[in-house]
């Protein structure tokens, strides 16, 4: 769940509740993020292209119309939005031109929501408030 509580002095000020279910633990973590650039994709195809850009390893294959990738170099402090699922092995078939990029993009589906942190600045925004056993 991501809650935007507005901005302060023209700077992004987003308060997030981040929860992760892992084994029998549920971690509740408040994130107070000031001055963090973020991106939250709402257009499914844009999100798919972003996912594709993040998974390939050659910049010449980047889908520029997606606007960005996360890795080369890291462009965002954190990324929130649909959690993408897909078949990693298909990337090799795309690279070998045995599968089209469009077919790869069509296979990427959302299986939930996620937030991923990519820089020290973003991690420094985290404040742990405890772990609750369930």
């Amino acid at each position: 769940m991501i809650k935007n509580v507005g901005s302060s002095n023209g700077m992004l000020h987003t308060k997030l509740i981040w929860y992760v279910e892992w084994c029998s633990l549920i971690h509740w973590i408040w994130v107070d993020c000031r001055d963090c650039r973020d991106t939250h994709f709402v257009m499914p195809m844009t999100r798919r292209k972003f996912v594709y850009n993040n998974r390939i390893d050659h910049s010449k294959h980047l889908r520029c119309e997606a606007g960005s990738n996360q890795q080369v170099p890291p462009k965002y402090h954190y990324v929130s939005g649909p959690l993408a699922d897909g078949n990693m092995a298909d990337l090799l078939l795309v690279r070998e031109r045995m599968m089209s990029v469009e077919d790869f993009l069509a296979e990427v589906v959302s299986i939930g929501e996620q937030i991923s942190l990519h820089t020290k600045e973003a991690v420094n925004c985290l404040t742990g408030t405890g772990v609750r056993l369930c």
């Binding site: 078949n87 990693m88 092995a89 990337l91 090799l92």
Partner: protein, 66 residues
């Protein structure tokens, strides 16, 4: 071609092109591997790793240096 077939094809390509195995040998190793069994039982789990990763798992299973 379904997802499982595409995954096998990608792993075979890594075994032959990157690790120099002959196609028949690569196919035999792949079809008798834990990877192949896992692919049948849990294709979503397999889909989260790259073809490179699974090719190395197969080579490790057969104690082939890489």
């Amino acid at each position: 071609m379904d997802t499982a077939e595409r995954t096998c094809l990608a792993v075979e390509l890594v075994l032959t092109k990157k690790h120099g195995l002959k196609p028949a040998e690569a196919k035999r190793m792949l079809q008798n591997s834990v990877f192949y069994q896992t692919l049948q039982e849990d294709p979503i789990f397999v889909g989260h790793r790259s073809a490179d990763f699974w090719a190395k798992e197969i080579l490790d299973e057969y104690s082939v240096p890489h």
